[in-house]
């Protein structure tokens, strides 16, 4: 009888021990999970940030990339111009950045209109080069090749090069720089 009682008590103690251990674990695990994942959620105070130039919302606005006179005419045999996209006023976690390079684009004139292609390969994100002798874009990583208009010719790339919106104002070419998800058939903004 005493044996039974003590064994029941031991079982009860085991349960209590398990509960206490779980309580301790949860007390740490819940805040830890919220803390560690907070950068993937929206930053607190982002509503006030949005009013400032260069905030997340402002990222999709156009940035100047070249002057119109230096943009080559591809129909005349010109080579696409690789232009760096530099944005200002961006945030990187705790930093406010004045001038930041976001990436580069190939600009050119085609049938009189401006075109801009993101230099990021839609396959795995490598930087695409222009091969003047073949008049093709070539990705140096996995050998995807694209026509001068960005159409996929060969290689593992799942889609054409990503076309970006460009405009011209007062002799300056502006580009609306965007990143797209990689390795997908369709162009989906990040």
């Amino acid at each position: 009888m005493g044996e039974l009682q003590s064994s029941e008590r031991r079982s009860a103690l085991r349960v209590v021990g398990g509960i206490l251990l779980s309580a301790l674990g949860l007390a740490w695990a819940i805040p830890a999970a919220l803390f560690a994942t907070s950068p993937v959620r929206r930053r607190r105070g982002s509503t006030s940030d949005a009013k400032q130039p260069g905030s997340e919302e402002d990222r999709a606005t156009s940035v100047p990339i070249a002057s119109l006179s230096e943009v080559p005419d591809l129909d005349q045999g010109g080579e696409p111009l690789r232009a760096a996209v530099v944005a200002s006023g961006l945030r990187d976690a705790w930093n406010r950045l004045d001038q930041t390079k976001l990436g580069s684009v190939f600009v050119g004139k085609r049938a009189g209109a401006l075109t801009a292609l993101s230099a990021t390969c839609p396959h795995a994100g490598c930087g695409i080069d222009y091969d003047g002798s073949r008049r093709q874009f070539v990705c140096p990583c996995h050998n995807s090749a694209f026509s001068i208009d960005g159409q996929r010719i060969s290689g593992p790339a799942p889609r054409d090069m990503d076309r970006l919106d460009v405009s011209e104002k007062g002799g300056t070419v502006f580009c609306q720089f965007q990143r797209f998800r990689l390795a997908l058939k369709n162009k989906v903004p990040v």
């Binding site: 079982s11 209590v16 301790l24 950068p39 976690a93 930093n95 950045l97």
Partner: protein, 623 residues
């Protein structure tokens, strides 16, 4: 070796007793299986040879950990070691989380900690748990030592365990010292300077040691990377090694029951660690962690000071557990300081480590032990050590409590910290740390002044040399003092003496209260609220009597020999002036200043105006 044998013999007997009790406790199968979940999958078959067990033999390990015998049965007095382990888990976990967001560089450290504290979800909680967790460990160490001292567990054959414990405590202080600097705020920066300077005063190797630790002759990036590497890698590895050793020794010797309990009674009442002692430990641990959470939530974590600024003095105070040493330094002047800084801790540790030999009969008596009364010498040394520490700590607190200027400086430092952290919400410029003040519109206004105005105007330390100065000096612009000085000598070099406006206005020849009245009236034109109405009324009469109004209109429309004074000194007046200084309501064709306002964006204009108008406010508050 003995430690390995015990669990094996236990593992042979434990399953038997379990299977024997299993048929009887069918009703209790629910709690049983809930326990099994923590064991692992194979448990439900009731077979001892689950897949994992066959391949890893993990149950033997589990039993060796859980079934360790507690001589004389579980006691709440034995919880302190486990409490320290639980508090250590808190440090490891919160430390790992902080590591994922912290940047150990002189430019980024403060900004990243401010980001953790104020912008990440529960960042203040995680940082608070880590910082207060350090205090908790120190408190836990003291309690653990007190229990060990009372029960006599420092004595033979546990001397080595006692020493590893002392070393562990020493390591904790190493963690505290290195961790205090990492936020790179004023508090950590200045307090740690004291510590490294003392290190530098070590005989012979001091300056080399100091430079090695701080990565050069002065604080900078390398100081942080060095402290960081010590704090998150070197010290933790040492700590882990010592903890393993400390626990292995503990398992070899077991707990130390109170001396008055006989060997028979102890043997009869001995129980395995799991579940009763474990539940005691966990219950106390849960209480402790709950208290930690409550205290962190109540204070919203630990304060982050303003970013480290070598040019701004700070009343450096270490964390509370360093206060005794801090206080001790006050009593050792000049070159003797090193005696206190290195000597006192050595004496302290030396005295504690010799405790096992201080009592009569220590060597001859076995584990049966001496009563507390028979250990009066060692306990007296222990009490003296703790008492000395407590006394010094109390004295340090009393000194600070009586020190009004210290409290005032603390309040200033707090206000500065709040300002810096509010500005950091906009993002810290890449120059980092104190560059956060550039986010202040006033600071930006100052920069605009330096860029656009300081070619001709002086203000504070900005401005041209004597021969290049063309416009008025703008210190205390629009304040009563500025207006008075101008009225008395408009052609002084500080006003129009060096501009084409020279000779355009005669000095005002009033003195005494009349001058004060006129100044008050001109000052009031800006619409200021802090004016003496009687003086203003008398000043207005004087303005007309002395024919000021012949040159200066006050309707905001009409031009005259001098500027129209409607709203003189107000934001609107100054804005209009900066946009069109040559307009007829300002200096007309005598104007010599370019219309800088047109070069500035709206935002820049308002920041420059804020900066210029703040000159008046700044000098008013100084009145």
């Amino acid at each position: 070796m003995a430690a390995v044998k015990t669990p094996e013999s236990n593992s042979a007997s434990a399953p038997e007793s379990k299977s024997a009790s299993a048929p009887e406790s069918k009703s209790a199968s629910a709690p049983e299986s809930s326990h099994a979940a923590s064991g692992d999958a194979a448990e439900d078959s009731d077979s001892d040879d689950g897949w994992l067990q066959q391949r890893t033999g993990y149950r033997a390990l589990l039993r060796s950990l859980l079934d360790h015998p507690v001589s004389g049965g579980p006691r709440f007095a034995y919880v302190f070691g486990s409490l320290l382990l639980i508090a250590l888990c808190n440090q490891v976990l919160t430390g790992a989380l902080l590591m994922a967001f912290y940047a150990p560089s002189a430019t980024d450290a403060w900004a990243s900690v401010a980001y953790i504290q104020d912008q990440l979800w529960l960042g203040w909680l995680v940082r608070g748990l880590h910082s207060s967790g350090a205090s908790l460990l120190i408190i836990g160490v003291v309690l653990h030592m007190v229990q060990v001292a009372i029960y006599g567990a420092y004595r033979a054959p546990r001397e080595v365990n006692w020493w590893t414990g002392l070393l562990l405590a020493l390591l904790l202080f190493g963690f505290a010292l290195t961790g205090y600097l990492l936020p790179w705020d004023q508090k950590g920066y200045w307090a740690t300077q004291v510590a490294t300077t003392l290190l530098g005063a070590t005989p012979l190797i001091g300056s080399t040691l100091q430079q090695l630790v701080q990565g050069g002759k002065a604080y900078g990036n390398l100081t942080l990377t060095h402290f960081y590497s010590l704090h998150v890698f070197v010290l933790p590895v040492c700590l882990l090694a010592l903890v393993v050793l400390h626990l292995a020794l503990f398992r070899r010797h077991g707990v130390t029951p109170l001396w008055r309990r006989g060997a028979d009674e102890l043997a009869r009442t001995t129980e395995p660690f799991w579940p009763r002692q474990a539940v005691y430990d966990l219950a106390a641990g849960t209480l402790m962690i709950a208290a930690l959470f409550v205290s962190v939530v109540r204070t919203h974590g630990v304060e982050l000071g303003a970013p480290a600024d070598p040019s701004v003095a700070y009343d450096a105070r270490p964390e509370w557990y360093f206060l005794p040493l801090f206080q001790l330094l006050k009593y050792f002047p000049g070159s003797l300081e090193i005696v206190a800084a290195l000597g006192a801790p050595l004496v302290f540790l030396g005295a504690l480590s010799l405790m096992p030999w201080l009592d009569r009969g220590s060597a001859t008596l076995g584990p049966a032990g001496l009563s507390a009364a028979q250990r009066v010498r060692s306990l007296a040394v222990f009490a003296l050590c703790l008492g000395g520490v407590a006394l010094l700590s109390g004295l340090a607190r009393r000194d600070d409590a009586r020190n009004a200027s210290f409290r005032r400086h603390q309040a200033d430092a707090h206000a500065q910290a709040v300002r810096a952290r509010t500005l950091a919400l906009q993002g810290v410029p890449v120059a980092g740390g104190i560059a956060v003040y550039e986010n202040d519109p006033l600071e930006q206004g100052r920069k605009l002044f330096a860029e656009h105005c300081a070619g001709c105007h002086r203000l504070d330390r900005m401005g041209p040399s004597d021969e290049d100065q063309k416009g008025p000096t703008l210190n205390r612009l629009f304040s009563r003092g500025y207006i008075e000085a101008f009225l008395r000598a408009p052609d002084s070099p500080a006003f129009y003496g060096k501009s084409p406006l020279r000779g355009g206005m005669k000095p005002v020849e009033l003195v005494g209260p009349e001058l004060t009245d006129l100044v008050e009236y001109v000052y009031s034109l800006a619409g200021s609220k802090d004016v003496d109405a009687a003086k203003v009324a008398r000043g207005q009469v004087l303005f007309e009597d002395k024919n000021c109004d012949l040159c200066h209109e006050r309707d905001g429309k009409t031009g005259g020999q001098g500027p129209n004074l409607l709203g003189y000194g107000s934001e609107a007046w100054l804005r209009g002036f900066l946009l069109a200084p040559a307009s007829i309501t300002y200096y007309g064709d005598k104007n010599d200043m370019p219309a800088f306002g047109k070069k500035l964006s709206d935002g820049e204009m308002s920041r420059l105006l804020m900066f210029l108008l703040a000159q008046r406010a700044a000098s008013n508050s100084a009145h």
